[in-house]
Amino acid sequence: MDAALLPDEFAALERFVPDWVLDTEHERNAFRVKQKQEDLVDFYQTIFPMMDALCQYIDQFPLNAMPKPAAALLRLGQMLMEVVPAVEVYQQPDVPNAFEFERFHIITPRDPIKVLEN
C-alpha cells in the first residue's frame, strides 16, 4: 500500500483517497450519484467534524502553490459539498424526480489553483 498522503490529523480520511479525491464538479457529481447512500452518509459523518481544521490547514497555502496533500484535502472538502444535499435533504444519492442526469451537462471551468508536483 502507498504511503499515506494526508497529514496525520486527517488520517481518518485516508480511506477516501484516492477514489473520493476528484478535481472537477463534473467528476464529483457523477461519482456521487453512483454511490450507495450509506457510503455518502459515512463520508459526510467522517469529514464534517474535521472541516474547520481542514480549512485551517489548506489555507496555509496560496491558491497557486498547493502541495498535493492540501490539494487532496481541498477536493475532499468540495466533495462534502457535493454530497451534502443528498445526505441532508434528499436522503438519496441523486435529486428525486429530476431532469435526466444524462441530458444535464456540467461544463464548469477548472478551479483557479495550481498543485505543486511534489
Partner: protein, 437 residues
C-alpha cells in the same frame, strides 16, 4: 413607484413566527404584490400560439433576435489578446430552415473585445472550427482559414493572402472579417447582428444598468456552468425561472423550506418592477423560520451560499441588491430582454441564458459567479452554492419538456397567470409589441 414599508401588516403571526418578524411583512391574504404596485394592470389570459407556432417563431427571429443586443459571454473568458470563443446562434440564421451562423468573440491587440462573423471573406468557409464542449477558451495570434490560408488579424483586418497576385481587383481593406456590433457592460459581452442597431446596448438595458450600477459584476468570475437542450419554447423556459409560484411544488425535494415558510407559503415576490422594453426586476424572500441544515449553517459562517439568508444578511449593504429593502431578502431576478436572467444576491450572482433553436427547442445555460477566491477554503464554500443551486436547476428543467407537450396538445387555447406570474406576462407583452411593430 412604491417603496415605502407595507402598511397593511398582519396583526397575528402564524405559528412559529416571531410577531416582530410577521409585522414586517404584508398581510398576504389581502395583498397582491404586483397588482398593488401596478393598479389596472392587464390580467387577461395569454393565447398559446406565440409559444407553439412556427410562423410566430420566425417573426421573433426576424423582429427580435436579429434586431436586439444579445448576451454572448463574459469578457473574463477572454482575458488576453488573441483569446477567443466561437458562439453559434441559431436564432439569427438567415433562412427559416437554414444553418446557424457562428461568430468569433475575441480580444484584439489593443485589448478591445470584438465580434466577427466566423466566415472567411474569400469563399465563405468557417474560419475557426472550435467546438467548445466546455466553457473553454481558445487562443490564436491571428485567424487563418483552413481552406486556402487567408490570414486575418485579431482586429479582423485581412493580413495576408497566399499567391495574392493571382487575384483580380482584390482590395484587402474591404475583405476583412465582417464585424458584428459588440459592446461590453460590466464584463457582459453583447452583440447585435443588425447592421444598424436601433439603440445602444445601454439604452436597451437601461433599467438594469441604473439599478445595478454599483453591483460588482466585473469583479466576479464564473465558477459553475450547466447546460441542457430542452424541448420547449424559449419563453416557456425563461418563465420557469422568473416566478416563485412553482417553488413549493417543484423544489419540494431540494429546497423544502427555505423560501416558502408560514409567512409566505407560496413564495410570492416581495417586490417587482416591470420596466420598459420587457425588462423586469423581482425580489424573493427567505422564510424567517427556515433553519438551514448543519453544513449550510457552517458554510454561512464562512461565506455565502447562493442566496442571502435574510436577517443579518439582508441588512448587509451589497450594492445594487434588495432595492426595496426586504428584511428577509434572498435574491433578485433581473430579466434582461429578450433571453437572459441575472440573479444577484449578497456575495455573487447566478443566471440563465436561453437560446432558441426552433419553436420548441431551446439551449439552456445556467451559471453561478463568485468573487475571486482569496484562499483555498473559499472554493469549498463556493462549492456549496454550486451544488445546491445546480440540483435545484435539475428540478426546474424537468418541467420544461412537459410544459411544451401540453401546450402543443391542443387541450388549451390560453394560459392563466396569477399575480406572482407577472414576469411571464411582461415578457409576452414585450415580445408581442416587437413582433407586431
Amino acid at each position: 413607484m412604491k417603496t415605502e414599508a407595507p402598511t397593511n401588516v398582519k396583526a397575528d403571526a402564524p405559528a412559529g413566527v416571531p410577531p416582530e418578524d410577521a409585522a414586517r411583512l404584508p398581510d398576504w391574504s389581502n395583498t397582491r404584490p404586483v397588482a398593488d404596485r401596478y393598479p389596472g394592470m392587464d390580467t387577461s389570459e395569454l393565447p398559446i400560439e406565440p409559444y407553439v407556432s412556427e410562423d410566430f417563431f420566425e417573426l421573433e427571429r426576424e423582429k427580435i433576435f436579429k434586431k436586439v443586443w444579445l448576451y454572448v459571454g463574459r469578457a473574463e473568458r477572454i482575458p488576453k489578446a488573441g483569446d477567443y470563443f466561437v458562439q453559434v446562434i441559431e436564432a439569427v440564421r438567415s433562412k427559416k430552415d437554414g444553418i446557424a451562423p457562428s461568430f468569433i468573440i475575441t480580444r484584439d491587440q489593443n485589448g478591445e473585445v470584438r465580434a466577427f462573423y466566423n466566415t472567411c471573406m474569400h469563399r465563405g468557409t468557417t474560419v475557426c472550427w472550435d467546438q467548445h464542449e466546455s466553457w473553454e477558451t481558445s487562443h490564436r495570434r491571428y485567424f487563418s482559414c483552413r481552406f486556402h490560408g487567408w490570414v486575418y488579424d485579431l482586429d479582423g483586418s485581412l493580413k495576408s493572402v497566399p499567391d495574392e497576385n493571382q487575384f483580380f481587383n482584390l482590395n484587402k481593406e474591404q475583405r476583412g472579417l465582417k464585424p458584428v456590433h459588440c459592446e461590453v457592460w460590466k464584463d457582459f459581452i453583447f452583440i447585435n447582428v443588425d447592421p444598424e442597431p436601433q439603440q445602444t446596448l445601454l439604452e436597451q438595458i437601461k433599467p438594469h444598468a441604473d439599478l445595478l450600477v454599483d453591483f460588482p459584476f466585473e469583479k466576479m468570475r464564473k465558477r459553475g456552468i450547466w447546460t441542457a437542450e430542452v424541448n420547449v419554447n424559449w419563453k416557456v423556459a425563461i418563465d420557469a425561472f422568473q416566478e416563485g409560484y412553482h417553488v413549493n411544488t417543484v423544489h419540494a425535494a431540494t429546497l423544502p423550506e427555505a423560501f416558502n415558510g408560514p409567512l409566505n407559503p407560496n413564495c410570492r415576490p416581495t417586490s417587482i418592477r416591470l420596466h420598459e422594453q420587457g425588462n423586469r426586476s423581482i425580489t424573493f424572500m427567505v422564510s424567517p423560520t427556515f433553519e438551514p441544515p448543519e453544513v449550510e449553517k457552517w458554510v454561512r459562517q464562512r461565506g455565502s451560499s447562493w442566496y442571502a439568508a435574510g436577517g443579518e444578511d439582508a441588512g448587509l449593504a451589497y450594492p445594487g441588491t434588495n432595492p426595496d429593502k426586504d428584511p428577509f431578502y434572498a435574491f433578485d431576478c433581473h430579466g434582461f430582454f429578450p433571453n437572459m436572467l441575472v440573479d444577484p444576491y449578497i456575495g455573487g450572482f447566478y443566471g440563465h441564458e436561453f437560446w432558441p433553436i426552433t419553436v420548441n427547442r431551446t439551449r439552456w445555460i445556467g451559471s453561478i459567479n463568485f468573487t475571486e477566491p482569496e484562499k483555498p477554503s473559499d472554493l469549498i464554500t463556493h462549492e456549496h452554492g454550486k451544488t445546491t443551486l445546480r440540483d435545484a436547476f435539475r428540478e426546474d428543467t424537468v418541467t420544461l419538456d412537459a410544459s411544451q407537450v401540453g401546450l402543443e396538445s391542443g387541450a388549451l387555447e390560453t394560459t392563466i397567470l396569477c399575480d406572482g406570474e407577472a414576469a411571464p406576462r411582461h415578457l409576452y407583452n414585450a415580445v408581442m409589441e416587437m413582433v407586431n411593430s
